[in-house]
């Protein structure tokens, strides 16, 4: 095998930037294996999640990330351990990449006790170290992300925060509010618009007067990225981290990507786009297939090796799925656990006033002290 190989990415489009990320990059064999493994795990988990939903084991909402894996994996590759991430409700992939194992994700989806939020958060609300969800209100996570970045600057850690949102959320007023403040105060926030073409069932062009999302930060520099190419995303994300840590303030990345599933599992995803469109992306732009071909052709890995990884991931995810189905839900007493980190009322009112429930403290309350 080659230990590393050079690659050329699609050209970036720049806004308010003299110079963008380099389009030629090098990929090591280790990183090739890592990115492949990460993207494949996310894909496999989502396939499993989709099945669990169809089996009616996952309830409520379930928004799959399949098709968009290169965005999360590429950005994660550029982050340091002390950087923060916050995203919207399409959060399963990010939760995993930030440190939650497949069981932690899948059991959260099935609402069981090994879920990373003990099954209390559900599909849209997963958390781990430096990962702040999993947020269910479209656009609301973006101000939170700027706040996380503000805290990094306040503490002087040189950390950045990646605040992700979709092309749908890009039209929310509060997103523009914090573009303004983030630039005004030069907050180290990397805004990432994951443009998958549709805000629920409304295509970008039907929702936005300007669909060049990377330009919509006004004075904030922006970069358009081929979000189906994990290496392009990685290069742009590295550039963005450098930009933020050098004190230049926020930057906006638009990753052009695609989601194969509907908006959520209740959406077949075919009334506002054609099956042919989805097929075409799968066949010509799939982030995993294209990456796989690239790294095999460059002799970084062999097909057999990848096949072995596929098998291993399949069995890990299948095992996790099995557990996530079979496990228990948390006990009833946790209905009234962790409403407050400092519970001033020891008893929580029940449905009737005569049988109050004790407030319990279970979680670690990371900001308690």
């Amino acid at each position: 095998y080659a230990t590393e190989a050079p690659f050329e990415t699609k050209a970036f489009r720049l806004h308010n930037l003299e110079q963008g990320p380099a389009t030629n990059t090098t990929l090591s064999r280790d990183d090739a294996l890592l990115y492949y493994r990460q993207m494949h795990t996310v894909r496999r988990m989502e396939t499993s999640a989709g099945n669990l939903y169809k089996e009616k084991i996952i309830r409520g909402f379930c928004h799959l990330y399949s098709g968009q894996e290169a965005v999360a994996v590429g950005i994660k590759a550029a982050l340091r351990p002390h950087d923060d991430v916050i995203t919207a409700y399409r959060a399963h992939g990010w939760s995993h990449l930030m440190g939650v194992n497949p069981l932690g994700v899948l059991a959260e989806l099935t609402g069981r006790q090994s879920g990373c939020a003990r099954g209390k958060g559900g599909s849209m609300h997963m958390y781990t170290n430096h990962f702040y969800g999993g947020n269910g209100i479209v656009g609301a996570q973006v101000p939170l992300g700027v706040g996380l970045a503000l805290a990094a600057k306040y503490k002087g850690t040189d950390g950045v925060c990646v605040a992700l949102y979709g092309d749908g959320a890009a039209n929310q007023g509060q997103v523009f509010e914090v573009f303004n403040m983030a630039k005004l105060w030069d907050i180290p926030c990397i805004f990432v618009c994951e443009n998958n073409g549709y805000g629920m069932g409304t295509s970008a062009a039907r929702a936005a007067a300007n669909t060049a999302y990377y330009t919509r930060g006004d004075v904030i520099p922006g970069i358009w990225i081929d979000g189906m190419d994990v290496l392009a995303v990685r290069e742009a994300a590295k550039f963005a981290v450098d930009h933020c840590t050098s004190g230049k303030g926020p930057i906006l990345l638009e990753a052009a990507t695609y989601r194969y599933s509907g908006h959520s599992m209740s959406d077949p995803g075919t009334s506002y786009r054609t099956r042919e469109e989805i097929q075409e992306v799968r066949q010509t732009r799939d982030p995993i297939t294209s990456f796989k071909e690239k790294i095999i052709t460059a002799n970084l890995v062999s097909p057999e090796e990848l096949k072995a990884i596929d098998t291993e991931i399949r069995s890990t995810v299948d095992e996790a799925t099995k557990k996530a189905k079979a496990e228990k839900e948390i006990p009833l007493e946790e209905l009234t656990a962790d409403i407050y980190s400092l519970d001033l009322e020891k008893q929580i009112r029940n449905i009737d006033p005569f049988n109050p429930l004790p407030h319990k403290r279970i979680g670690e309350a990371v900001n308690f002290k």
Binding site: L150, D338, I339
Partner: protein
């Protein structure tokens, strides 16, 4: 020593900023302007740009930023010029600040204070004259404080800043300039009042009057007038709306057998409504000799018209008359 509510709030902020590097103030006009109502006077000069941050007029955005900073372990004090404007940001207050600890199964607590003037001011019309006490007190995950005088404001704001959960702190613009006595204890740096405990402002045996914020003043004035007629009203200052100190109220009702609630907010699903419901559901119900009564703001948006505005909020006379009616005295 006498101190205005404004100065009491200012000293609470000052002391807590000195005590804890993580405490910072963010909001409109909090820094260079010295606070729209001068609550933050002098703090920008003392602590600088990093810790006293002027924002553009963009409540939803800066509230979300403050909440995010709290998630990362800072202790933001998020000021609203008035709580009427916090309605622009209420999703961040309830959904982001109030629910994240529960959703994360106890992982990410959000230590933040949302503060500013609440309720009716004077002559500012419908959109600037509203009490949000009931709105926030409705939501599990939030703690809600509605202080009355200077001691309340100092001790409870300090408690709110130190509390590891999101606290909504509802001040009153009319009271900012009013002086109240401060005990020696209240003047000290470590004066902290417990959140969730009501205060008996005036002991009495004939009727219990429960109020919060400026309505405490109304109730105390009424109690003085009643006293001259031989009626001793017990006035309870709620201080906190969530948790609601129902035990202090029920103990008082067991003694006086009569209850009136007084508030400036609207009647429907209000604080008084909640108190009456809880009394109805408890043993205290059997101690009542008369139905418990709510005195509230009139169920209407606030008019600008001076005479109508005055008629829209409870005054001492309303409390006196209702007391006499319940006690069947002329």
């Amino acid at each position: 020593k006498q101190m205005t509510v404004r100065d009491a709030l200012n000293s609470a902020l000052d002391e807590e900023m000195t005590r804890d590097e993580r405490v910072f103030i963010i909001g409109e006009e909090v820094a260079q302007y010295d606070g729209a109502y001068k609550v933050t006077r002098g703090l920008w000069k003392k602590y600088g740009d990093k810790r006293v941050i002027d924002t553009p007029i963009t409540e939803m955005g800066f509230t979300g930023i403050a909440v995010g900073a709290a998630m990362a372990g800072l202790r933001p004090v998020c000021e609203y010029m008035t709580f009427n404007f916090a309605m622009q940001a209420i999703d961040q207050i309830i959904n982001s600040a109030g629910k994240t600890f529960y959703m994360s199964a106890g992982r990410v607590n959000v230590p933040i204070v949302f503060r500013g003037p609440n309720g009716a001011a004077a002559g500012v019309g419908a959109q600037h004259s509203q009490c949000y006490g009931a709105w926030y007190a409705h939501c599990p995950g939030l703690k809600v404080i509605s202080p009355y005088n200077s001691e309340d404001c100092k001790g409870l704001l300090k408690a709110a800043i130190r509390d590891p959960d999101p606290v909504v702190f509802l001040e009153n613009e009319i009271l900012y300039g009013v002086q109240y006595p401060m005990s020696d204890q209240a003047l000290s740096n470590d004066f902290v009042l417990p959140i969730g405990k009501a205060k008996i402002e005036r002991p009495g045996k004939h009727i219990t009057i429960v109020a919060h914020s400026r309505a405490v003043e109304t109730s105390l004035q009424a109690a003085n007038e009643l006293s001259s007629k031989g009626i001793e009203a017990e006035v309870i200052n709620l201080r906190s709306l969530r948790p609601l100190d129902i035990n202090t109220i029920t103990a008082s009702v067991a003694k006086t057998n009569h209850l009136i609630t007084v508030e400036q907010g609207w009647p429907s699903a209000g604080i008084g409504a909640e108190i009456l419901a809880r009394i109805m559901e408890s043993e205290a119900f059997f101690h009542l000799d008369q139905p418990a009564i709510r005195l509230t703001g009139v169920d209407t948006p606030m008019p600008y018209t001076k005479s109508l505005e005055m008629a829209a909020l409870p005054v001492p006379k309303d409390v006196v008359e209702m007391t006499k009616k319940l006690l069947k005295v002329k």
